[in-house]
């Protein structure tokens, strides 16, 4: 709901200083002397309700209650299974674990990423919403790290040359 004062088409915008008082999306524009060009009255300063800062809960969207988070790495993989090492991000006192999973647990979009060395996150928890029954969720999401760039390779080759000149030559 804007209470900005409309500017007449004849107005020279170069003479207008814009004073922005932000109350939500509202802005007030005044003439140079505090009035608009066509008025001799003091502009109205209309109070506005303050910005609503509290996030609005979308009751239609389900909420997730994540009970467990792991950071994982693929140790080995076959067509049917993969062996992974999990680092417990929820309780750091817990030891790492080696788990063998079926490849069926991996999203179709991530199947091509399953190879030794690949990194992923795994979350287990509940999902519930206004229109949703409570359900268990188990999400394995592979990390898509950026590929090696030409610049990185060139820089490392330059550094390797420095190392070789330092360590390997008399």
């Amino acid at each position: 709901m804007s209470t900005a004062i409309a500017i007449s088409p004849m107005e020279n915008t170069a003479n207008i200083q814009e004073y922005a008082h932000e109350y939500g999306e509202n802005k007030y524009r005044y003439g140079k002397t505090g009035t608009d060009f066509l008025s001799t009255k003091e502009p109205e300063i209309r109070p506005c309700s303050p910005k609503f800062l509290t996030p609005v809960l979308d009751l239609n969207r389900p909420r997730e209650d994540i009970k467990q988070r792991w950071s994982g790495k693929v140790i080995s993989a076959t067509d049917q299974e993969l062996t992974v090492r999990l680092e417990d991000l929820t309780n750091r006192d817990n030891p790492d674990e080696l788990i063998v999973l079926s490849r069926d647990e991996i999203d179709d979009k991530d199947q091509s990423l399953v190879k030794p060395g690949a990194l992923f996150y795994w979350y287990i928890g509940y999902r519930q919403g206004f229109k949703y029954s409570k359900e268990r969720i188990s999400i394995i999401r592979f990390r898509r790290l950026p590929s090696w760039t030409t610049k990185e390779i060139q820089e490392s080759e330059k550094l390797a040359e420095e190392y070789a000149n330092f360590f390997l030559t008399d």
């Binding site: 009970k67 467990q68 790495k73 299974e81 090492r85 417990d88 929820t90 309780n91 006192d93 817990n94 030891p95 790492d96 674990e97 080696l98 788990i99 063998v100 999973l101 079926s102 647990e105 190879k115 030794p116 060395g117 690949a118 990194l119 287990i124 509940y126 268990r136 188990s138 790290l145 950026p146 590929s147 090696w148 760039t149 030409t150 990185e152 390779i153 820089e155 490392s156 080759e157 550094l159 390797a160 420095e162 190392y163 070789a164 330092f166 360590f167 390997l168």
Partner: protein, 303 residues
Amino acid sequence: MSQQVVGILITHWHLDHIEGASKLLKACSNAKLYLSGALFTREALQIASLYKKDVFAETDKDIREFGEIIQFLHETEDRNRIVPVKTRHTFFDYRETIPTRLIALSPSDVAVTQSISKLAQFAKKPGDQRIRTVVPESENLNAVAVHFSFGSFSALVGSDLEETGNVQTGWSAIFEDNIINELSLSASSLFKVPHHGSETGHHDRIWEDLLIEKPLSMTTPFSRCDLPTPKNIERLKQLSSNLLIARDPRARNRIKRDNMVERELRSIAIARKSINDKMGHIRVRVSDKGAFDISVNQNVVKF
């Protein structure tokens, strides 16, 4: 104490043998660093330089540890601190008072060459996917096994050196090369069992030619592969006067977790195993009078 350390030997660059080496090197300013000659090559330095720049390298601690070492030595301009090692390398040989000698029995020339050729696989090209790189298992053939003698006492430290039946690598290469006779190596009474007590670390001639009958043996477990297995523990017990393992290989850490998560995990996992990382510590001291002192911490198990 750190100034009294004269040498740090990295037998090979698997994580359980190299982790913390860079910190050790920085703390022990008088110590030289010894490592396999295969890691003192252009190919290995290429890998070290790659990981220096890789901002995504959260894992691959083994390669990053190696990178840290190279970077530190480069920055301190101390190239003489690093010494490449292969079979027959003499770390020291003192004969003035009590004869003291440390000699490398491995890696063989062929093992070093094979290791270097595998290092080339770590090279990256633009556009290569950024995945975590694993130091290959075959690096065990590049491991440095040493024979230490102090007066009449001697110890054999087997590192992770394995036996594959190839006379040019592993333990067979040591016996094929006739090092024992040529260097007059005495039979040892203390034995650090190679490769976590596995069958692949075993060679009959180690026990026949390099060790006294029933030496004191010690080894470290490797949770990921359940080493040493009960069968191997039994084998080692038969061959040794006593067997010390740095951590109980049978122990499993208790995991504290939400019941719902445990149920979900049991329904998804085909197999699972926790990795016990408790640190065991065995220290052996030998006096100039030939007296032994062995001390252990609470995690060590005696069989």
